[in-house]
């Protein structure tokens, strides 16, 4: 069975690879490379896989999931400029792909039944990350 907790955060970012020139960044990312940055209301779906406990009837208490996501992700991401304030995005471009992978890495040690991380950058663009096969 899959269960999902949805959370939101707001953050600014710029799609810019520091290893590339201004011209190369603009060619690659267009307006999203504007060095002053821009922001999104991100929506994150954290999905866990498991069987309901016979006593509690729950796969995992979603209140606990929310606490972990708050502590490990939202307190670090929310209302921040990702490139300047949230490593590793000083080194890698904070695309939704890389954000999903980073959220997975932050959560997985605390949520061992983690099944998927979905990140909506807008209503019309989202990514799913299921981890890497062992």
């Amino acid at each position: 069975m899959l269960i999902t907790k949805r959370v939101e955060f707001s953050a600014s970012h710029v799609c810019r690879n520091p290893a590339l020139s201004d011209r190369e960044n603009e060619a690659l990312f267009g307006m999203a490379a504007n060095p002053h940055g821009h922001g999104h209301n991100y929506v994150v779906d954290v999905t866990l896989a498991g069987e309901p406990d016979p006593v509690t009837g729950m796969v995992m208490d979603l209140k606990r999931v929310k606490e972990v996501v708050n502590r490990e992700v939202l307190e670090r991401y929310d209302h921040r400029f990702l490139n300047h304030e949230v490593p590793p995005f000083d080194q890698i471009v904070p695309t939704p792909e890389n954000i999903a992978v980073d959220i997975w890495r932050r959560l997985q040690p605390h949520l061992t039944s983690l099944h998927a991380v979905r990140v909506y950058e807008t209503d019309d663009l989202f990514v799913d990350y299921f981890g890497e096969p062992a």
Binding site: N17, L20, L28, G30, V93, E97, L125, F126, D128
Partner: protein, 145 residues
């Protein structure tokens, strides 16, 4: 490996009528969807692609290139058009959203290699909402189950 999904919209009209059925059978099966003048929907299309994250761009797919592909092969030919009379595939098949989903998948799969000549990304699946309450999903394994 990452799955990236983009959402697109098109508004089109259609009429459900099967030439293999009698008039009364059509009416019985399709009800008001069989109205001879047709009707329309605001279709929402999700296109999901899968691939590794490119280290240089941080992306699994160039969204502009995907947008151009979907615009050329699906949104432009379908948006503000009548599926039965203006889309060749529906001269032969009923434009149910099942058949529309197969047509959209076939169009994208057929143009995929030209738009994305490398190994990645691959077309994973498409999903069409005919209304906010009816969804139809087609992947590469369609027809093999």
């Amino acid at each position: 490996m990452i799955q990236v999904t983009r959402k697109y919209r098109f508004a089109a009209s259609h009429r459900l009528h099967s030439p293999q059925l009698s008039e009364s059978e059509n009416l019985e099966l399709y009800g008001k969807c069989h109205n001879p003048f047709g009707h329309g929907h605001n279709y929402e299309l999700e296109v999901s692609v899968r691939g590794p994250v490119d280290a240089r761009s941080g992306r699994a797919v160039d969204p502009d290139r995907l947008d151009r592909l979907v615009a050329e092969h699906v949104v432009t030919p379908f948006d503000q058009h009548d599926l039965n009379t203006e889309v060749e595939a529906f001269a032969r098949t009923v434009p149910t959203t099942e058949n529309l989903g197969r047509e959209v998948y076939a169009r994208l799969a057929g143009a995929w290699q030209t738009a994305f000549p490398g190994e990645w990304p691959v077309l994973e699946k498409i999903r069409i909402a005919e209304t906010p309450r009816n969804f139809f999903e087609v992947s590469g394994t369609d027809g093999q189950e």
